[in-house]
């Protein structure tokens, strides 16, 4: 079936089977391999993307469900110069990235949180990333990176 939707700000039109997941569409049909497949059953969050402002598991979403909607993947998260944005830089700065497999999902979970709640507590950050498993870091550095980004974005807003 023909699918048309907005992907990372650009319009996409593609023919794809009705029975594939959004994760498969992104990786195998669109060649966008930033979104990772971890468990494939909605338990690890590696495949997280944002649809119409909400964080979801792309392994539990049919590709067809994206039709007519706005999808943001890790490829759509970048700074004005095309490099990493402030949150991604903080992930590096705070040592939040080890093997890196969970990071696309973690960054999207962080962005989804900061869009809805620009001033989260550490507890709220923990809740926001509770659907994303990381087996390397022990999470503290990821929480630090999101917390620091919230603080610096607030600072920017005050001075803007």
């Amino acid at each position: 079936m023909k699918l048309e939707f907005q992907l990372d700000g650009s319009n996409v039109s593609i023919d794809a089977p009705a029975d594939i997941t959004l994760l498969k569409l992104l990786r195998d049909y669109l060649g966008m391999t930033g979104t990772k497949e971890g468990c494939g059953i909605g338990e690890c969050g590696a495949c997280s993307v944002i649809i119409d402002g909400r964080l979801i598991n792309s392994c539990l979403t049919l590709a067809a469900q994206a039709a007519g909607r706005k999808v943001i993947t890790i490829e759509g998260i970048r700074g004005p110069d095309g490099g990493p944005n402030d949150l991604q830089k903080n992930f590096i700065e705070y040592g939040a990235v080890q093997c890196g497999y969970c990071i696309p999902g973690m960054v999207l979970a962080g962005e989804a949180l900061l869009t809805r709640n620009p001033n989260p507590s550490r507890m709220e950050i923990r809740e926001a990333i509770s659907g994303n498993l990381c087996r390397c870091t022990g999470y503290q550095q990821i929480i630090d990176a999101i917390y620091a980004t919230a603080a610096s974005r607030k600072e920017l807003k005050i001075h803007a």
Binding site: R54, N57, L62, A109
Partner: protein, 297 residues
């Protein structure tokens, strides 16, 4: 070849038409968190009818004391709803403890009820609210109390071609307190081992005027334990009364299920949870659930 086809319904009327189209086995796609997994494993239908983008199914409305939640409302939408926060903290607490943010953004209350898992978290809360399910078929509208809609795990009375469209409840009387406790292996993304939804209200003399006790993941059908409830009404709430009621709840559970491999764990766990829940709803404990502090009505 495609395992199934996909079609999106834009209204409830259209969804009912599509679900009843002759010669095609159709299944409604609500949140997809169960269905997409099932459909990948087995051939379960010829076509999924996507009902996630039907605006009327997401509505949460209040008409005096009656609250109607569209079956397509996601757990996140319910948690964020001022109407539900004000009238049913027990449901907000239950929804807060489902899955993780991603699952709560996708999963719907209607899907949770229609899937009818014995461990579903929203069902004990809905049964505690005496919620009624409204099902539309091509022949008209049917209503069942949620506790009766589900006949056994993963089996409901929703007829073929029918669509669960809303869940409604009457707001508990002012002065009611309610709580939902969940026991899982960890906080996020845990299948419930046991849950308890409870409600309590005291009269002006401080005696128990009303109480509702609904254990989840404990019995094949999620129901109010009315015998335990009846024994509490008219009594002065005390720690020993709560303890007695929690022991009686455990005895009722074992009476229904018989002693099983899990009883050794479930009996003391349920006892402690019911005890804690009753202490909370009768105002004998300050320890309210962290997520919804201050939400008790």
């Amino acid at each position: 070849m495609e395992k199934f086809h996909y079609i999106r319904a834009t209204s409830v009327t259209e969804a009912i038409e599509l679900l009843n189209e002759p010669g095609i086995v159709s299944r409604p796609l609500a949140g997809g968190t169960d269905l997409v997994l099932l459909a990948r494993l087995d051939k379960i239908c010829d076509r999924v009818v996507d009902i996630t983008q039907i605006p009327e199914l997401h509505q949460i409305m209040r008409n005096n004391d009656q609250i109607v939640i569209g079956a397509g409302a996601t757990f996140s939408e319910i948690i964020e709803s001022g109407i539900v926060q004000e009238t049913a903290p027990v449901l907000v607490q239950a929804c807060c403890q489902i899955g993780a943010p991603q699952i709560r953004n996708m999963g719907t209350i209607g899907g949770n009820v229609a899937n009818a898992a014995a461990c579903a978290d929203s069902i004990p809360a809905l049964v505690c609210l005496d919620a009624v399910a409204t099902v539309l078929t091509k022949n008209g509208e049917h209503r069942w109390p949620v506790a009766e809609l589900i006949v056994r795990p993963n089996r409901t009375q929703i007829p073929k071609g029918g669509l669960l469209v809303s869940l409604s409840y009457i707001a508990p009387q002012p002065g009611s307190r309610s709580t939902f406790l969940k026991l899982g292996r960890r906080n996020a993304l845990a299948i419930s081992r046991l849950t308890i939804a409870a409600l309590g209200r005291l009269d002006s003399a401080g005696m128990i005027a009303e109480t509702r006790i609904v254990p989840g993941s404990a019995t094949p059908q999620i129901v109010r334990f009315t015998r335990v409830e009846a024994g509490l009404v008219g009594q002065l709430p005390t720690e020993s009364l709560c303890r007695e009621a929690s022991l009686q709840t455990v005895a009722e559970m074992t009476g229904i299920t018989g002693r099983r491999w899990s009883s050794e764990f479930k009996e003391p766990a349920l006892q402690a949870m019911v005890n804690r829940a009753l202490l909370q709803v009768f105002g004998l404990s300050q320890r309210l659930s962290q997520n919804t502090e201050g939400l008790a009505i």
